[in-house]
């Protein structure tokens, strides 16, 4: 080993060992800077998560709303049995006292469109046609308010028990209560049944 070199190396090591240190403030300041930086970072992350969640919720609500509207439209307008009623042409007959305050709606041009396939379908073996009911005028139910514009009302053809018709306010009497009745129901824009027209009653075996 070179003694001169060793002397210099030792002197440099001593110099390193005796070098000054950074002030205490520097460490404290850096610790604070570290805490501040990460507080900001966490806040930024939380904001991003919150905005993301809000966006997801908004999108979900939008999709749900769209889906619900679509489902409602599908429920109200089954393509084979429902036709839009040309509402301006409808006439509502004046209320008749004999029919327990139920209004009748005059025969309108609104007739449900029924596909030929369905018309030609053979009747179920459990259902027999009956001759006791003949198609007539629409009879307004208590839910019908002449002051409310009918707007996008629809006529829905349904096969219901007579008791169900009684429940929605149609005056069904006697034997018809136990029978199934093919009925046209005028459904308002708000989903409420406004009027009923009986088409055909069937005996159920």
């Amino acid at each position: 080993m070179n003694p001169e070199k060793d002397t210099l190396s030792e002197a440099l090591r001593e110099l390193a060992a005796n070098s000054p240190q950074a002030s205490q403030n520097l460490g404290a300041n850096l610790q604070q800077a570290f805490a501040r930086h990460h507080a900001r970072r966490r806040l930024r992350q939380r904001t991003i998560v919150a905005v993301g969640l809000a966006a997801c919720v908004a999108i979900s609500v939008g999709l749900l709303r769209t889906g619900r509207q679509t489902r409602t439209a599908q429920t109200v307008t089954p393509s084979s049995q429902v036709a839009k009623a040309p509402l301006p042409e409808q006439k509502v007959a004046p209320p008749e006292g004999s029919k327990r305050g139920v209004q009748t709606i005059a025969k309108s041009a609104a007739r449900p469109r029924i596909h030929k396939k369905e018309m030609n379908k053979p009747q179920s073996s459990r259902i027999e046609p009956s001759t006791t009911v003949e198609p007539g005028d629409f009879v307004a139910l208590s839910t019908f308010d002449p002051a409310v514009p009918l707007g996008e009302s629809r006529i829905v053809r349904m096969d219901l028990p007579g008791s169900a018709l009684q429940l929605i306010g149609y005056p069904v009497e006697g034997q018809l209560l136990d029978r199934r009745i093919v009925t046209d129901i005028l459904v308002g824009q708000d989903g409420m049944p406004y009027a009923v027209r009986l088409i055909q009653a069937r005996n159920v075996h």
Partner: protein, 194 residues
């Protein structure tokens, strides 16, 4: 323990330390600061000769570590080397701005320096000796000074210093040899003045 030795010991811990630091663990930052602030400050102080500049450089190094801990790539070297690299870059900018660098004249006599250096250091008392040595180191050109500080003061190996200085280990060796020779020459000239 000095940075060079510590680098070998702490290399495996550095990544975990940085991971914790990136997650915002204050204890990890404290450990990191305690481990590296002295070598970084010392490097900056010997490079600049100025306490406040050294503090600014140290602060800048740790602020960068706080802001972008994921910039450190363990595959490229140890954390100490990475931090020294930042310190060196910051130092170069500071030096370029303040024109602190006052290089020695390049002419020197190797043989004469070797003979004189021992005598001068032996003659001076401890504090004087350290002052003279510090001023002599400070008077070296930056290229040689940083090689001397990293290898002789921080006891880094040539490959470690080469990573920091971004040059081959052979270049570090030759710069170090030249730096030592220039330092001896400087010490000799100071003795002549006295």
């Amino acid at each position: 323990m000095r940075a060079g030795r510590r680098m070998a010991h702490a290399a495996s811990e550095d990544q975990e330390l940085l991971r914790q630091l990136a997650k915002g663990n204050p204890a990890a930052f404290h450990t990191c600061y305690e481990r590296y602030q002295r070598p970084i400050f010392r490097f900056a102080w010997h490079m600049s000769g100025n306490q406040s500049t050294a503090e600014e450089v140290t602060q800048e190094v740790f602020l960068r570590l706080i802001r972008k801990p994921k910039k450190f790539d363990a595959a490229k070297g140890a954390l100490a080397g990475y931090l020294f690299g930042i310190a060196r870059n910051v130092m170069h900018r500071q030096m370029a701005a303040s024109a602190l660098d006052v290089p020695l004249a390049d002419e020197f006599n190797d043989d004469a320096a070797f003979a004189a250096e021992t005598d001068l250091l032996a003659e001076l008392d401890r504090q004087e000796r350290l002052d003279v040595l510090h001023k002599s180191v400070l008077a070296l050109p930056a290229t040689y000074r940083e090689a001397l500080i990293l290898c002789d003061l921080e006891e880094m190996s040539y490959p470690e210093a080469a990573t920091v200085l971004d040059c081959p280990p052979g270049t570090v060796a030759s710069r170090l040899h030249r730096a030592r020779a220039m330092l001896k020459s400087k010490l000799q000239s100071m003795r002549c003045v006295r």
